[in-house]
Amino acid sequence: MIAPDWFREDRLPHIYCTGCGNGTVINCTLGAVEEMGWKREETVFVSGIGCSSRAPGYILTDSLHTTHGRALAFATGVKMARPDLNVVVFTGDGDLAAIGGNHFIHACRRNVDMTVVCMNNHIYGMTGGQGSPTTPPGAISTTTPYGASEPAFDLAELAVAAGANYVARWTSYHVKELTKAVAAGMQTPGLAFIEVRTQCPTNYGRHNKLRRVSDMIEHLRSHAMLVEKRDRLVQEGKPVPDDIFTVGELVRRNRPAMGVKS
């Protein structure tokens, strides 16, 4: 177990389904927190509603489990009232992109000093697999039985455009890279946004011929392309496949941040 003094061992095993990637993301985030050497009294985990937002319940610190989509709004409040606290937000794609979309772009615009870890499982997992704004085109969910016809949100690019100071994207397969990215995000003043593509074999994979956990992980791994490689392909004028998503560090910059510990 990573970071045994950060886990509420009495609450384990957690409620996540077999093979759910959210547990891996908790491991990686707590690994990064331990690397940073933060104290438990100075760290707050904030979450909204959804599978991903159950995560702070398994972590032995003060946490806020807030209303749907408003995790970033609450986290901004925490950071404004107590700039000395380290704030980490766990959120899901339905929470962040659909209901809390506006809070997300404005938190990025304000560049509030916190770390946002988004567990993007391409679906509303907890409520039965409805299509979310990040469901890839053509994917089958309970509300898109003939395949999603709308283009999906690219959350990391959205955060870059809205002005976050650190943006990275990894999948739950890339555990070491993800831990480093979360740690780098925690070190960067300003909003750090880490999008993690996780597997949801129960509600996403089941409808999309990826029922086994290994199939779903293999699908994520084979569709991930390093951002450097994508840039190189574009430079050389070679075709970039349509169905890939870029992984890696998308941006690291020094825009003026809000609520930085002085």
């Binding site: 177990m1 384990l12 095993p13 077999t18 891996t24 739950s172 070491k176 956990v213 290994s214």
Partner: protein, 90 residues
């Protein structure tokens, strides 16, 4: 050090089977008392972390430990510590 799977937490997703570079984790065949088919360990002394963690004083490899969504994989101290011959195949 000794590699162990905590069967009270494992949900049998077999992600460790997928990622272990040594193929130490093998898909199990028998249901345990919780009704879950947990992976079985095939000669766990081949694990690099088991052999060398004490020597290097830090976590080596540790991918299974990191990717396990159920926090079920751990290394525990063996007592008494006995050196034994290990054959490592790549």
């Amino acid at each position: 050090m000794k590699l162990v799977i905590d069967e009270s937490r494992c949900k049998g997703c077999n992600l460790c089977v997928l990622v272990c570079p040594y193929g130490i984790f093998q898909e199990g065949t028998e249901l345990n008392s919780r009704g879950i088919v947990a992976p079985v360990l095939d000669r766990p002394e081949r694990c690099t972390n088991c052999r060398l963690q004490a020597l290097y004083g830090r976590m080596l490899c540790g991918i299974c430990h990191m990717i396990c969504p159920d926090q079920a994989i751990a290394w525990i101290d063996e007592k008494p510590l006995e050196p034994h011959k290990v054959e490592v195949e790549f």
